[in-house]
């Protein structure tokens, strides 16, 4: 049973306050964990996993692409950065 994965990120030119807050926390961790000291930024986006019965055929993919552009993202503030098909949902992967 295929899953279509859609990934959405805040537009690169816009401030991402959520990512900035996470980056701030990583900066504090970096004081005790040297491996994190090189982190220069974090951006937080969204990943949608759309489960389907049957085949992820061209028509379905086109419909999901349309959905990604019109509902799953808002083009004023976000970009769809990836759409791909995977055979097993992430939750089933150990």
């Amino acid at each position: 049973m295929p899953t279509i994965v859609v990934e959405v990120m805040p537009k690169a030119e816009l401030l991402d306050p959520q990512g900035k807050a996470v980056a701030g926390a990583l900066g504090r961790l970096g004081q005790t964990q040297p491996a994190l000291a090189n982190v220069t930024g974090v951006r937080v986006g969204k990943r949608f996993e759309i489960s389907l019965e049957g085949e992820a055929d061209a028509a379905t993919l086109a419909a999901v692409r349309e959905l990604a552009d019109t509902v799953l993202s808002n083009s004023v503030i976000e970009d769809v950065v990836g759409i791909h098909v995977q055979d097993v949902p992430s939750s089933a992967v150990a």
Binding site: P17, Q18, K20, V71, N74, V76, I77, E78
Partner: protein, 232 residues
């Protein structure tokens, strides 16, 4: 005049908006997100809150509600529609207004009395204000930072479609200090601050005269009532 206030799952300020409508002198009509019926109202308020928990994006799921089909249709035919806070977010998600709202720049929820300048007193919801009137009404949101492409911003500014602008400092990183905008026709207005929380002495922002006596928000509602009388 009948002014509808739509309740969505997660609306918080629908009853406040209805009270503001009544205090301004119109009949408040409760509308339900799941209906396809506007109950013959003459204008519509989309109230503040956190519809659908702000899941997906603030206002995004509400903008796909059954009643929004009728709201969008009525707005496109010229019916006055006011979106307050979450309602503003819905109007941008429904493409009735340009731009979009993202998290406040400093990452914090903001709740305070906010100074604003009325930049456009020709819209259906601001026509009773004096030109460049300065007012104070509450602002309370986590995602109120107004964003738009350079091209859109130029159009909004050039066509006088910025309705209200923050004064006394930009609270959330909104481009050009924009607090609210309108469409080309001037019947659809959205703003992040809350006019319905400044309509009754004793419950509004503090003023120089007395504590909690600010009623600057009432003029949004009296404006649309006056517009309706002119239209008749």
């Amino acid at each position: 005049m009948r002014i509808g206030v739509v309740t969505f799952p997660g609306s918080l300020d629908d009853r406040d908006a209805a009270r503001a409508v009544r205090l301004a002198g119109a009949d408040a009509v409760a509308l339900w997100h799941g209906d396809h019926d506007l109950h013959d109202v003459d204008a519509i308020v989309l109230p503040g809150g956190f519809s659908y928990g702000d899941y997906l994006r603030a206002g995004a799921i509400a903008s796909l509600s059954p009643i929004m089909t009728e709201v969008i249709d009525a707005a496109n035919k010229g019916m006055p529609v006011l979106g307050i806070c979450n309602g503003f977010q819905m109007l941008t998600e429904a493409h009735l207004l340009d731009g979009g709202l993202i998290r406040n720049g400093q990452g914090r929820f903001i709740c305070r009395d906010q100074g604003l300048r009325i930049e456009n007193n020709t819209s259906d919801w601001t026509s009773d204000f004096a030109a460049n009137a300065e007012i104070v009404i509450p602002l309370k949101n986590g995602e109120g930072s107004f964003m738009a492409s350079d091209e859109t911003l130029k159009a909004l500014e050039g066509e006088g479609r910025v309705v209200v602008r923050y004064i006394g400092g930009n609270p959330n990183g909104s481009l050009n200090d924009i607090a609210g905008v309108t469409n080309a026709r001037g019947n659809v207005v959205g703003l992040m601050p809350h006019p319905e929380h400044a309509v009754e002495a004793g419950f509004g922002p503090d003023t120089d005269d007395a504590m909690a006596s600010g009623v600057d928000g009432l003029t949004f509602f009296t404006s649309v009532i006056a517009q309706a009388l002119v239209a008749r």
